[in-house]
């Protein structure tokens, strides 16, 4: 007989099965719309996944990061500025420089939050809030209207992009593919590599890690920085879609990413699944709005991802067990 915890473990799979069934049904009904929704699912999932991984790596090493929204915004801003000022160097160079600038900016923001949490032993929620407020304020203030940057190319995977149903899934901007590669890397790194084992130990029982010679504070700094660079790619993904910086363009994605992390129970593959589920709702919502399919105000559909987030926080959040030392500054004896 399944114990209550086993049943709970099945929830994500159950959700995925529902989604699959819905896809097939929908495709046989309206193929064009369904393909569009799926393509958008993947596009919308990518920043959620990377944002969720940023939160996951932090929390797995013992630091609660609610500043992902701010990190993404800072990244998008820095990336846009960098690309825009280097536009003369050619599209490729300009985009690459933008991506690096965005990643570095968000990584440094991560290091800064690490410093607040690790060395200053500040309340981590406050540190994250500070970053969010600063990011919103600073990027609005410093943003110069009217600048442009080169647009990102679309990469279509040969053969796969021509398939029915899923064709659009394989026609994305380059960074979207990066997101899906990263989540696989993080999954294996977290559960199979030396870094992963140490990270999990540091997030669960830092003094145990310390007594076997692991430098707890250093690992937390490193991880906050790595995690920040992932939030940086997440921010650049928004830019990849929009091709231009907009004030407040993250629009809550950094917070929804936290729900994705909880939904995924602090596991990268769980985050992947959570990102896809939410991305799907996002794609559905966009397509319904676009089609004016029903006589319902479009705002109503726009609400779907947020309602889903609340549901995840209310239900999945209860069953996910956070790392024991998450949020607790480490004090050496």
């Amino acid at each position: 007989m399944a114990s209550p915890t086993n049943t709970k473990r099945l929830i994500p799979w159950f959700a995925a099965a529902l989604v699959l069934a819905a896809i097939v049904a929908a495709w046989s009904w309206k193929s064009g719309d369904t393909e569009a929704v799926l393509g958008r699912t993947v596009r919308a999932a990518a920043p959620l996944i990377l944002g969720g991984l940023c939160g996951l790596i932090g929390e797995r090493s013992g630091i609660v990061n609610i500043g992902i929204e701010g990190q993404m915004l800072i990244s998008a801003f820095a990336g846009f500025m960098a690309s825009s000022y280097t536009a003369g160097m050619g599209t490729l160079a300009s985009l690459v420089i933008g991506i690096l600038a965005g990643m570095i900016a968000a990584a440094l923001t991560g290091t800064f939050m690490g410093w607040c949490a690790i060395s200053l032993k500040m309340d981590q929620i406050i540190a994250g809030t500070v970053v969010n407020i600063f990011a919103a304020g600073f990027t609005s203030y410093a943003f110069i209207q009217g600048r442009t940057q080169p647009t990102y190319p679309q990469w279509s995977v040969p053969v796969l992009a021509d398939l029915p149903i899923v064709g659009k899934v394989f026609s994305q901007g380059p960074l979207t593919y990066v997101a899906f590669v990263v989540v696989i890397i993080v999954q294996f790194a977290l559960f199979r590599s030396r870094w992963g084992l140490r990270t999990r130990a540091v997030g669960e029982h830092p003094s145990a890690a310390d007594t076997v010679g692991i430098d707890v504070l250093r690992l937390r700094y490193v991880n906050m920085t790595i995690a920040g660079s992932l939030a940086g790619i997440a921010g650049m993904l928004l830019l990849q879609s929009a091709s231009v910086f907009n004030r407040g363009m993250t629009n809550g994605i950094g917070f929804i990413a936290l729900a994705v992390m909880l939904f995924g129970r602090y596991r990268p593959f769980g985050v992947l699944l959570g990102g896809l589920v939410l991305g799907f709702f996002n794609g559905l919502q966009a397509q319904l709005q676009f089609r004016q399919a029903f006589d319902i105000p479009p705002q109503f559909f726009g609400m779907i991802p947020f309602v889903f987030t609340i549901a995840v926080l209310a239900f999945a959040g209860v069953s996910a067990r956070p790392p024991a030392a998450a949020g607790v500054p480490y004090e050496k004896e």
């Binding site: 294996f188 084992l197 029982h205 890690a209 007594t211 076997v212 024991a324 004896e333």
Partner: protein
């Protein structure tokens, strides 16, 4: 021939207000077990933490294997062949045994950890040293005794030839302790030098080759174990003769204070932990609850003190139904509670000694006046209790977390027993406490009884039950399987009941 593996000279460590170690010398030879004895706060943990690089000595030198060694931290100590099992386990609960063992020195194949090699080395080590443990098991699911073996394996995996055990037996059942002593003998036979800290003189006599006694931060004596006696060691430790027998008069039981009827409760894993328990405690008597740990003792104490919800049954204290009462309501009836886990349930580590001494009464007069705390009254209370109960602390403003284990326990006992009480629920009140303090805590429990309180004493130590209790209740699998006057009970009989071998 003896080869020195560790030699410490003149180690000194000062904490604010305390000279925790005062020029301590220590020697350890290959294959030797040295016992480290001393009162609570004598500086034993501080000494071994310096050896292991957790603390940096203020003064003093060390040699390892004849070479001068300057240990910069635990990692360095490990690299130099030391291993330490801490008073509080340093294991990562959700990880497997193998992961815990290799953590920090993981075997790799390519980019990944070589899990097969990890499991294989754990298996080899556990066979070689007779430390039975499943490498694939998740640590938090294991009993404490097995977790401790994992700690020892961790040290051995790193090739330790010096092993430091800081009160390893405090949390073990008697059977687990015997197994541990056996393991230690085995390790010593293969050449590992062991420093063994314990408060139990019996263990010192059973397993050590030499014993070093500390008091007030200094070494006050050292002797070969052969030729030492419990009395002699205890006197050296405390500085006065210790009476191992508890002096108490015949109990004069009065009316029933605690009346428990048909109590059923579930444990944290939602399993039935208390199965229809009925018992009574009368005023002026000590009822000892005997049983192997994990047979419902924790849940019993928690239900009695309002910390755990009851599935069915009733609890009455002094005639009042407290079945669904809150801990504070129960406290108002004059119930004192000495919890099993003093760090978790008994104290707020970051608060001062003074604040911890009013945790159960800060809201009452004179400690609170019109909603504001009266610091003078709180300080007076603390000064008095610290003096009366002999709590060794630099000041009443000291954070309770920095006190030694035994002194933490004294703070709790002082708080819970100093107010006139009708009932005392004491769970493992002398765990990790030195012989002098045990004597003191036992006296306090007996005097609470003599002043008319009922005492429910839960202990894993049969000795303690037999020396204190007027009546003995035996728990097995959440049921009361024996209830008898202490005078009629024999150790053998109670032991059999505890093992579930017979029904009374």
């Amino acid at each position: 021939m003896t080869t020195s593996v560790l030699r410490a000279r003149g180690l000194t460590k000062r904490f604010p207000g305390v000279l925790a170690n005062d020029s301590v010398d220590l020697d350890l030879n290959r294959g030797e077990i040295v016992g480290l004895l001393g009162e609570n706060g004598a500086g034993k943990s501080t000494l071994v933490k310096m050896l292991f690089g957790v603390y940096e000595p203020d003064e003093g030198t060390m040699e390892i294997g004849g070479e001068p060694a300057d240990i910069s931290g635990p990692a360095d100590a490990i690299a130099k062949g030391m291993g330490m099992v801490h008073q509080h386990f340093q294991l990562v609960g959700p990880l497997t045994v193998a992961d815990n063992v290799v953590l920090g020195a993981e075997p790799r194949s390519g980019l990944f950890i070589d899990e097969k090699a990890a499991v294989e080395s754990v298996r080899e080590l556990s066979e070689k040293f007779g430390l039975d443990v499943d490498p694939g098991a998740v640590v938090e699911d294991l009993p404490v005794g097995v977790q401790q073996r994992v700690e020892i394996l961790k040290a051995l995996y790193r090739g330790a030839d010096i092993l430091i055990l800081d009160e390893p037996s405090a949390v073990l059942t008697p059977q687990e302790t015997d197994e541990l002593l056996e393991v230690m003998r085995g390790l010593a036979a293969t050449g590992v030098g062991i420093i063994f800290i314990t408060h139990k003189l019996r263990e010192i006599l059973a397993v050590t080759d030499r014993v070093v006694v500390m008091r007030g931060g200094a070494v006050v004596g050292a002797a070969d174990t052969a030729g030492s006696t419990q009395e002699g060691l205890a006197e050296l430790m405390v500085g006065r003769p210790v009476i191992f027998r508890v002096e108490k008069d015949q109990a004069v039981p009065g009316p029933t204070v605690l009346y428990v009827q048909g109590l059923v409760a579930r444990d944290d894993r939602d399993q039935r932990a208390l199965d229809n328990i009925s018992l009574q405690v009368r005023s002026g008597e000590i009822v000892g609850v005997a049983g192997v740990e994990g047979n419902g003792q924790r849940e019993l104490v928690e239900t009695l003190t309002g910390l755990r919800r009851i599935t069915s049954g009733t609890i009455t204290i002094d005639g009042e139904d407290v079945t669904r009462a809150s801990p504070r309501d129960i406290h108002r009836l004059g119930v004192g509670h000495v919890p099993e886990d003093r760090e978790k349930d008994g104290l707020v580590s970051s608060y001062s000694v003074a604040d911890n001494l009013v945790l159960n009464r800060y809201f009452k007069k004179p400690f609170s006046k019109s909603g504001l705390r009266d610091f003078a009254a709180i300080a007076r209370n603390a000064e008095k209790l610290v003096a009366d109960y002999g709590v060794a602390t630099p000041a009443i403003t000291t954070g309770v977390g920095t006190l030694s284990g035994g002194n933490k326990q004294k703070v709790i006992v002082a708080r819970e027993l100093s107010e006139t009480t009708s009932l005392v629920v004491a769970s493992q009140p002398t765990r990790g406490v030195d012989v002098g303090s045990i004597e003191f805590i036992h006296e306090q429990l007996v005097s609470a009884r003599d002043q008319g309180a009922g005492v429910l004493l839960v202990s894993a130590e049969l000795d303690e039950i037999f020396s204190l209790a007027d009546r003995i209740v035996v728990l097995y699998r959440g049921r009361v399987v024996g209830d008898m006057p202490a005078a009629d009970a024999t150790v053998e009989q109670v032991g059999l009941l505890m093992a579930g071998a017979v029904d009374a």
